[in-house]
């Protein structure tokens, strides 16, 4: 500090303190602005929620096409024909995994429906040999993650008064994307820890590490 500058007589460090205070205030305000940029609050027009009482995750992911033994189309079955997700993925409502339906469930319809199509003939041949199609995994979580389909369906579908069991595609779409618009299943949501945690924060899910990690 040069000598010709006026110095505060009783408290010579006042400039430093004021400077530090201003810097601190700038940091705090900057953090606020940064926070608002990270999670912008949009005012006005909000579309009606797809899942009432829940914030729908908006992130998307463009997954690779997964080769499957049979080109099963979700668009045809779930979209056009309107079969409920939980008809085939029965275990989603009562267990950790959603489950793949047994071949017997496919054959329940396909002994009388669309038998002439080549993919169904492949399925019928497998069924007669007593084999099941070896489906490849599409949405795979790491080994150290505990995810329960049941808990999520309980919260968003089964215990949600505004939801009907018919609306299950909307709930499934939170993490799987709109499966009734794609052919062979592919990954449409990132399913990363950031994706999970963002949704947990918005929907008041548990935030403790051990609730999901094992």
């Amino acid at each position: 500090m040069s000598a010709d500058r006026p110095q505060h007589k009783s408290f010579p460090w006042i400039r430093t303190f004021i400077g530090a205070a201003v810097l601190g205030a700038l940091i705090v305000l900057g953090a606020q602005v940064f926070e608002n940029q990270l999670h912008p609050v949009k005012a006005g027009e909000t579309p009606p929620p797809r899942v009432p009482g829940a914030v729908f995750p908006t992130d998307t992911f463009d997954g690779k096409d997964v080769q499957q033994p049979i080109n099963y189309s979700h668009k045809l079955h779930a979209g056009d024909l309107g079969i409920n997700c939980l008809y085939c993925h029965t275990y989603a409502r009562r267990s950790r995994v959603a489950g793949i339906p047994p071949t017997a469930k496919c054959m329940g319809c396909h002994t009388v429906v669309a038998e002439d199509k080549p993919e169904i003939q492949k399925l019928t041949a497998m069924w007669k040999k007593g084999e099941s199609p070896a489906w490849n995994k599409v949405n795979d979580l790491p080994d150290f993650v505990h995810f329960s389909h049941e808990r999520h369906l309980q919260k968003f579908l089964l215990n949600n008064e505004d939801m009907n069991i018919k609306d299950s595609p909307d709930v499934c779409a939170m993490c799987h994307g709109d499966m009734n618009t794609v052919g062979v299943a592919k990954k449409m949501k990132p399913l990363t820890m950031g994706f999970c945690v963002t949704c947990h924060e918005k929907n008041n899910g548990p935030a403790d590490c051990t609730r999901c990690h094992k």
């Binding site: 926070e35 009562r94 150290f144 505990h146 049941e150 309980q154 403790d208 051990t210 609730r211 990690h213």
Partner: protein, 283 residues
């Protein structure tokens, strides 16, 4: 105020409040254990059950000798000094005393503050949790653990420990830890989580007896009791009260000298959550 500033103020006030009141008090459960050494026969079934339940790798004799074993629960053996009560005897008067030793889930755990990445921390269930995917393998926690119950994966045990088809027997509820990760007893957190999921499905609270740890389930003499200390009616809190052992006390003030209950390393004030009942012998 759901913003960064709001979060700062909230954590600040939580922190100062916790500091005034002497610690964190918002525990939902406080899982604890009691082991009756009078009943323990040292059969090692608890340790074996732990291997099966928690996907513990067996490492072979050589690595076991190099203290690289993956046993989350070990049965320690203690021998009395010979010649006590009989000066001519050159053999032991008694056989060994046994002490099953596992992570004590200390309330003031020495391993927690030294972790550089906060991979080990205390949950609201009163458990000392280890988050494997966060762990970077600094091994500070194991060095700071007075009981030596943390096991480090020095090798990629997953490749060697379970040759096919033994990998089909792995427990799907718990991960197989990879190389460079610290692991330890979790009080069978997968069973705690399973019981809480079942309780939520049935719309009730977790009851005493819903959760059974693998060692407790296997113990042939039922020496191990497990439960929630915050539940006044649970077996475990009755056992603790009967033995006049309390949490948060580093020197137990026992009215009755015949009480057998004690906790290991009480004088270190680490506040362990496993109550041992001393073995009584005829002299």
């Amino acid at each position: 105020m759901p913003s960064l500033l709001g979060n700062i103020f909230k954590s600040w006030s939580d922190y100062s409040k916790g500091n005034e009141e002497g610690g964190f008090h918002k525990y939902e459960h406080m899982y604890a254990m009691a082991i009756d050494l009078n009943k323990c026969t040292g059969c090692n079934a608890c340790s074996t059950a732990c291997y099966a339940e928690n996907n513990l790798a067996w490492v072979g004799e050589e690595r076991f000798g190099a203290r690289q074993a993956m046993n989350w629960m070990r049965v320690e053996r203690y021998f009395d000094e010979p010649n006590i009560g009989n000066e001519t005897s050159d053999s032991l008067d008694h056989g060994a005393s046994f002490l099953p030793m596992m992570c004590q889930h200390c309330s003031a755990a020495p391993c927690e503050p030294v972790c550089p990445v906060a991979a080990t921390y205390h949950t609201v269930d009163g458990l000392n949790a280890q988050i494997y995917n966060r762990c970077i393998g600094s091994r500070y926690c194991a060095n700071n653990c007075p009981i030596r119950v943390r096991n480090f994966n020095f090798y990629d045990n997953a490749q060697t420990a379970w040759p096919a088809p033994m990998d089909q027997g792995l427990n799907p509820d718990i991960t197989v830890r990879s190389k460079g990760v610290m692991e330890k007893c979790t009080f069978c957190i997968q069973r705690i989580r399973g019981a809480s999921d079942t309780a939520k499905r049935e719309g009730r609270e977790i009851q005493d007896g819903d959760i059974q740890t693998a060692c407790q389930q296997t113990c042939p003499t039922s020496a191990i009791t497990f439960g929630d200390l915050l539940d006044e009616t649970s077996k475990i809190s009755k056992a603790w009260k009967r033995q006049q052992v309390e949490l948060g006390v580093y020197k137990q003030n026992k009215e009755n000298p015949e009480m057998r209950g004690y906790r290991v390393y009480e004088e270190l004030n680490i506040d362990t959550k496993v109550l041992y009942l001393e073995r009584v012998r005829e002299v």
